[in-house]
């Protein structure tokens, strides 16, 4: 108003006033847009962070639950199998103290020895299930081949494995992770897929170790895996995720191009000589 009164050229005054106002509105609009956009980005990032934290929590819970289940299985094996066997051996030895007949004594000692042998074998089996000696002594290739031979030997399913480029072994900690992941996948395939064969191949690609598992049964694809990972079910799959996270590896569930087979690819980066794996 002040400007309009100040001049006798209302046209110029109007243009000047509107122009300046327009420029100021544009400038402030730009700045407000940037502030709100930045806030939106920050909110999005916070939500992502929150989701990641929730995912971590799920994985941690899964790993704790799995550990507890493993402990329960161990406790059950020791209590139900080793416990009664040792108690029986003790009974036989007690019998030996009571019964003075030499033949009966020898017979009970023989029986007790048999039971002790069985117990030793049982404990060895438990120990092997905890840490396969082949993996420890001969590496991932031998341990996986051994596992597949045993599965194939059962006659239920045709299982084969082939390592093409595994001259330089991964670090023992990484080998154990890969072995456990393969073990879990194979268990799942045996339990749920109803397939007639499992085939594993190993290759190197861009400095990473790739393991591919094929089977012809029922399987899952990546979206199913991600869904199960976020849900409360699928403990084994969550365990796979958390193990691979430690080894900085990746896993991909997909269907073969021919749509006949399911394929699982595990990718583990090769060891950095200066890197130490914090497990």
């Amino acid at each position: 108003m002040f400007l309009l009164q100040a001049t006798n050229q209302p046209g110029i005054s109007f243009v000047l006033f509107l122009g300046t106002l327009g420029m100021l509105v544009l400038t402030l609009g730009l700045i407000l847009f940037i502030i709100f956009h930045q806030r939106k980005v920050i909110r999005y990032q916070l939500r992502l962070q929150q989701m990641e934290q929730e995912q971590q929590k799920i994985l941690l819970n899964a790993s704790i639950r799995l550990q507890e289940e493993e402990r329960q299985r161990l406790a059950a094996d020791l209590h139900d199998d080793a416990g009664p066997l040792l108690a029986t051996a003790r009974l036989y030895l007690n019998e030996n103290l009571v019964n003075q007949d030499k033949t009966t004594q020898l017979q009970s000692i023989y029986q007790a020895r048999q039971i002790l042998d069985d117990t030793i074998q049982l404990i060895r089996n438990i120990s092997h299930s905890l840490m396969p000696p082949t993996l420890k002594n001969f590496g991932l290739e031998s341990a996986v081949n051994d596992m597949f031979q045993k599965i194939s030997g059962s006659g239920q399913i045709n299982a084969s494995s082939r390592f093409h480029e595994y001259k330089d072994r991964l670090k023992p900690e990484k080998e154990l992770i890969v072995y456990r992941v393969v073990q879990e996948l194979v268990n799942n395939i045996l339990k749920h897929s109803n397939s007639s064969f499992i085939h594993l191949t190993q290759n190197m690609q861009n400095g990473s170790c790739l393991l591919r598992l094929h089977h012809d049964g029922r399987g899952i694809v990546q979206t199913d895996f991600e869904k199960l990972n976020k849900s409360n079910i699928g403990l084994g799959l969550k365990n796979i995720s958390s193990r691979l996270k430690v080894a900085q590896g990746n896993i991909l569930f997909e269907k073969d191009a021919s749509q006949t087979y399911y394929k699982v690819t595990i990718e583990i980066p090769r060891d950095d000589p200066y890197e130490s794996l914090a497990v």
Binding site: L3, Q9, L16, G19, T20, M23, L24, H37, Q38
Partner: protein, 238 residues
């Protein structure tokens, strides 16, 4: 009419002395922010602007149109250098240098063409160098786009308005946006009318200086936060 004149004068004085406000704060907190180059550039610009304003008071009105080009030319250089300092990305810095060179050369060629003398008499008489001012405004707006682009992509920075540079940029933008239409229409209207509209540029200038003060205070605040805690001698190992 007299009332209007008083308001005009009031804004003239306020704009004139508001240049001193950020300088005053800079002097008060000099020890804390003396290392910051961008603040130094802003303060140097304000000193320069203040000197130009003094010159405009004491120098004959007829040769004011020779002082404005100097003000425009150096103002664009100060602002460009300010943006050069606050932008981190190498490619954007290079773009600022290239744009500034183009702007400076264009402005210089404009001055040579417009202000050259024919037998000791100015070829053309212009109140204000509107064309270089328009070019300067566009280039500074472009630099501010660079700055905001960088800020949007910066995920470390939570709130852009917590940065002193943001208030510096905001001040510059408000000043340029507010005075742009007055400057470009300066040669289309009489000197009398131009002086009446000058109040808009004065308001923009006052706002700019207030934002510069905010920038300086934020800079002081940040320096205080960054300052490491003094080591307690009793806790150090011998």
């Amino acid at each position: 009419m007299a009332k209007t004149k008083t308001i005009e004068n009031l804004f003239n004085y306020l704009a004139f002395f508001s240049d001193l406000l950020p300088i005053l704060f800079y002097i008060i907190y000099f020890k804390k922010i003396k290392k910051d180059k961008a603040t130094r550039v802003i303060v140097s610009y304000l000193l320069f602007d203040f000197a130009i304003n003094i010159a405009l008071i004491y120098i004959d009105v007829r040769i004011h149109n020779k002082i404005y080009p100097i003000a425009t030319f150096f103002e664009s250089l100060f602002f460009a250098y300010f943006f050069y300092l606050i932008i981190k990305k190498r490619s954007l810095k290079t773009a600022i240098i290239i744009c500034s060179i183009i702007v400076a050369l264009t402005s210089l060629s404009y001055y040579v063409y417009t202000y050259h003398y024919v037998y000791g008499v100015l070829k053309r008489t212009v109140h204000l160098d509107s064309v270089p001012i328009a070019i300067e405004t566009f280039s500074i707006f472009l630099f501010s786009f660079f700055y905001f682009f960088e800020q949007i992509n910066d995920t470390e920075n939570l709130f852009v308005y917590n940065k002193p540079s943001f208030w510096g940029v905001l001040g510059i933008l408000i000043y340029l946006a507010g005075s742009f239409f007055v400057y470009i229409s300066a040669n289309s209207i009489s000197r009398q009318q131009l002086l009446q509209y000058w109040v808009i540029t004065n308001i923009a200038s006052i706002i700019k200086n207030i934002f510069f003060v905010i920038a300086i205070l934020l800079m002081v605040n940040q320096t205080l936060k960054k300052k490491p805690l003094r080591k307690n001698p009793s806790y150090t190992l011998n």
